[in-house]
Amino acid sequence: MGQTISEKIFSKSVSREVYAGEFVEANIDMAMIHDITGPLAVKTLFDLTDKVWDPDKVIVIFDHQVPADSIAAAVNHRELRKFAKKEGILNYDVQEGICHQVMVEKGHVLPGELVIGADSHTCTYGAVGAFATGVGSTDMGVALATGKLWFKVPETIRFEVNGKLGKRIYPKDLILHIIGNVGVNGATYRACEFGGETIESMDIPARMTMCNMAIEMGGKTGIVEPDEETAAFLEQRAVGADVALHSDEDSKRDIRSYDAAKIVPVVARPHQVDDVVPVTEVEGTKVDQVFIGSCTNGRYEDLKVAAEIAQDEKISREVRLIVIPASRTEYKRALKDGVIDILTDAGALVEAPCCGPCMGGSFGILGPGEVGLTTSNRNFKGRQGSPDAYVYLCSPATAAASAIAGTIADPRRF
């Protein structure tokens, strides 16, 4: 029987042929920790041994609470800095950007690798054909000590998408539509493989948006088979990228088909990611804060779409628009070609690269009764501040259109 790309990656990692359902102790190719989950992982590491298994395979990134917004955060940063320095580990400090964006844009992830990150959105790296999955701090600590971690090789759901997305309809609308369709636990424990001509025609940033949200349907990872697009993206960033890996035709996959032409702009309503409805159903809902950013939709391409809509417009006086580029690199690109200018002229508050309001632990918090519209990935009750706030998820286009209108708006009218 043939193998899925995920089964092939695990097979490579354990040097024997393995299939879905098997428990394996796999070798890790790369591990990422950040300022929130890192301290606990390091503690576990030192409970077990006195040094990291391979400093070249570990990266520390500060992004959740940057620059330090409390004494506790400053202490976490200080300790992780010391740790990275002592172990000789690459440490991206407070200026670089969101961990998942940095890992991919700096070429730290290659197709066919088994990558873990102490953050649930690690699944984002599947955009370049890696099997990447989020783990907790104890799992990470053990991996830091031994270079190995136990896994159950997952079954695969293949989301086969064909056709072309319409005007002002984006990968975010597609992935929200899919999550609305399968439910928040529709892919639990399974690998979410995205394929078909719609996915093939997407650039890597778009594929990152798709893979990023695999966890929101319970998926163990999101993954796109690497191709010429992947090779072109990695050419300037990394050496040794092999893009030949793909799922065999006769591998065991649960295939779900979608027609991209039928996708419309959507939002996920409070407080569940799978409560997905067409924008038209909630059009006119008053909005207090709009956030464009995060590892889901804070890349240059996302900010550019927002700028296209905000060009020569002003955002509503009733709304605050917070824009946060996903990384320093993306920020510079958006600065260079005027995207930041357009957004600032329209009335946006542009913050330096970081996770921002997405996880509600730093700034940009919503108050009781307020309505937030966000391009990030979770609208759980209390996620962005008050448990009595209401958060809707949407594409950068819908976010920009709504910031101008002051109410949730259909981006196709802009």
């Binding site: 428990f23 102790e25 929130i36 989950t37 301290p39 606990l40 503690k43 576990t44 409970d47 077990l48 041994t49 959740h64 609470q65 409390s70 506790a72 955060a73 976490n76 102490a118 953050d119 649930s120 690690t122 989020g134 783990v135 907790g136 701090s137 104890t138 799992d139 600590g141 053990v142 000590a145 031994t146 190995k148 136990w150 159950k152 928040v184 636990n185 639990t188 424990y189 966890i215 319970g218 163990k220 569940q272 996880m359 509600g360 632990g361 979770r378 759980f380 009750k381 209390g382 996620r383 448990p387």
Partner: protein
């Protein structure tokens, strides 16, 4: 240490489906790394009375997809301080691993008939939940042997100490002997 031998007894706190990690422990407390401190804020946004009223040994009983969302280990840590076991219809993947890894037992079972406040007795060896209030037993889905071994060790760190690292040291000793 939690072992599969032990019986667990406690009062049920009943939750619904899709209890997410932000509900278990809000993002603003993630700068805290100590279980005891985290426990003071458990379920703060969704059940503000939980943290003060929970008794050592109490049991969380939930519906589908418990622990969905973030990989934050702060979530099971915030519960482990007082909660003896979590029983749910199903769990989100990362939470399930994290709980097992830190030695907090988790069991999958149909929880429909268990109500808030019921006194439960859980026999991990036999895989049975006995609802003393209702005088009724419920079966649990068996955990994979590999996972049971981690729980028996009292968590992943102990498991790795007992198995992986010792095996590696042994391997190294063999190699050294061969070299000699």
């Amino acid at each position: 240490m939690t072992t599969l031998e032990g019986k667990i007894k406690g009062k049920a706190w009943k939750f619904g489906d899709n209890v997410d990690t932000d509900a278990i422990i809000p993002g603003k407390y993630l700068v805290i790394n100590q279980s005891k401190e985290l426990a003071k804020h458990a379920f703060e946004n969704v059940r503000p009375e939980f943290a003060t009223r929970v008794k050592k040994g109490d049991i969380i009983v939930a519906g589908e997809n418990f622990g969905s969302g973030s990989s934050r280990e702060h979530a099971p840590l915030a519960l482990k301080e007082n909660v003896s076991i979590i029983i749910a219809k199903s769990f989100a993947r990362i939470f399930f691993r994290n709980a097992i890894n830190i030695g907090l037992p988790v069991l999958e079972s149909d929880t429909t008939e268990i109500d808030e406040g019921d006194i439960l007795e859980v026999d991990l060896t036999k895989g049975i939940i006995f609802d003393k209030t209702k005088n009724k037993a419920f079966e649990v889905s068996e955990l994979p042997i590999f996972v049971r071994r981690i729980i028996e060790s009292g968590g992943l760190v102990n498991y790795v100490r007992e198995h992986v690292l010792q095996e590696e040291e042994q391997m190294q000793r063999w190699t050294e002997l061969e070299m000699e």
